[in-house]
């Protein structure tokens, strides 16, 4: 069973080399076993990343990474809506995550 901390650390580590896809958020939170419990864990991982100011969601814009507007609750609602739309198998579609400065520091410290 994946723990929230483990998934957060994995995603922060991934963020050191590139933006992180929604696909990876699902994978590191579920390891392929998708049920109500693991879906809940994925959402708690996202909440932790957002509220601890470790990662920011956004889209790959033409020129740069475009942060999503709105509050953290808005981000969570929008992320959940995308996961439902993609049947929890986004396969590269949907949001991306970028590390904040704080997230980078945390990732460097734990990697």
């Amino acid at each position: 069973m994946v723990t929230e901390q483990q998934a957060v650390d994995d995603l922060l580590n991934r963020g050191l080399v590139d933006w992180v896809s929604l696909h990876d958020v699902v994978w590191y939170g579920t390891h392929g076993h998708i049920d109500a419990a693991s879906q809940g864990l994925v959402m708690s991982v996202l909440r932790r990343l957002f509220t601890d100011d470790l990662m920011v969601p956004g889209d790959l814009g033409e020129e740069c990474f475009e942060d999503w507007p709105g509050s953290r609750e808005d981000w969570l609602d929008r992320a959940h809506a995308q996961l439902e739309d993609f049947g929890w198998a986004p396969m590269g579609d949907g949001l991306w995550l970028r590390l904040t400065n704080r997230g980078s520091e945390r990732a460097e410290a734990t990697s």
Partner: protein, 237 residues
């Protein structure tokens, strides 16, 4: 006496046509005698082994190349014209210096349908001038596992889910080899113009930028973390 005459007539029936440049009756009935088959140049060349009636009736038709491409998620053959000048490079490649088959004659096409991405190495030139000379790759779509085999043969990176290549050209050639025959999906914005679904549901995509700069290939298996191909450190883009 009558027996000797019968043997003589049989002998004449075989030998005389040979001396006159025609074929004896026994040969045209499909025996295993050396056959004579028309060639594109018009010369007659011997083939060994049993000969079919077809090969004796008419010269071989010009060779055609069958390229397999998926249509609506399925593999379907598509006929394209090709000359007989193209040779098939052995299908299974194991070394980094191996080449990618380009086009194959009709005779050898089946061997070419498993091509560059088999085994631990992609078979694609890793870097340098050769990377710019990688020809068009044809064949059926790859499975995600085959793509991941090829991925593991690329250059190392700091994380095991990341591999590197030495130039943008090499990266593009790699992407095109992986995506050949796959189902094209709509672009995911200007940053992700090329997206392909492999027959088993895996997705590969070309990203024009990444968090650390430069174009990137993403591989999304149906089960597993995403894999990423980046440019090696210090490579300009």
């Amino acid at each position: 006496m009558a027996r000797s005459a019968r043997w003589l007539s049989v002998l004449l029936a075989v030998v005389v046509p040979l001396l006159m440049g025609t074929q004896p009756a026994a040969a045209t009935a499909g025996s295993s005698l050396a056959a004579m088959v028309g060639s594109p140049s018009g010369a007659r060349e011997p083939l060994t082994g049993p000969v079919s009636e077809t090969s004796q009736r008419a010269p071989l038709a010009p060779a055609r190349l069958t390229v397999l491409e998926p249509l609506a998620g399925a593999l379907a053959p598509r006929q394209t014209s090709a000359s007989r000048d193209y040779d098939c490079i052995p299908a299974t490649v194991t070394g980094s210096s191996a080449q990618v088959p380009t086009r194959c004659s009709a005779v050898t096409a089946p061997r070419c349908q498993v091509t560059a991405v088999e085994g631990a190495n992609s078979g694609l030139p890793r870097s340098g001038v050769a990377a710019n000379t990688v020809p068009e790759v044809v064949g059926p779509a790859r499975s995600t596992e085959l793509v991941l085999d090829s991925f593991r043969g690329l250059g190392p990176a700091k994380q095991k889910t990341v591999r590197t290549v030495g130039s943008v050209d090499e990266m593009r050639s790699t992407f095109e080899a992986w995506s050949v025959g796959a189902e094209r999906l709509p672009a995911r914005g200007a940053k992700v113009p090329d997206v392909y679904r492999l027959p088993d549901g895996g997705v590969i995509q070309w990203r024009t930028g990444s968090g650390t700069g430069g174009p990137t290939i993403d591989i999304f298996p149906t089960s597993g973390a995403a894999r990423t191909v980046h440019l090696a450190d210090g490579v300009p883009w």
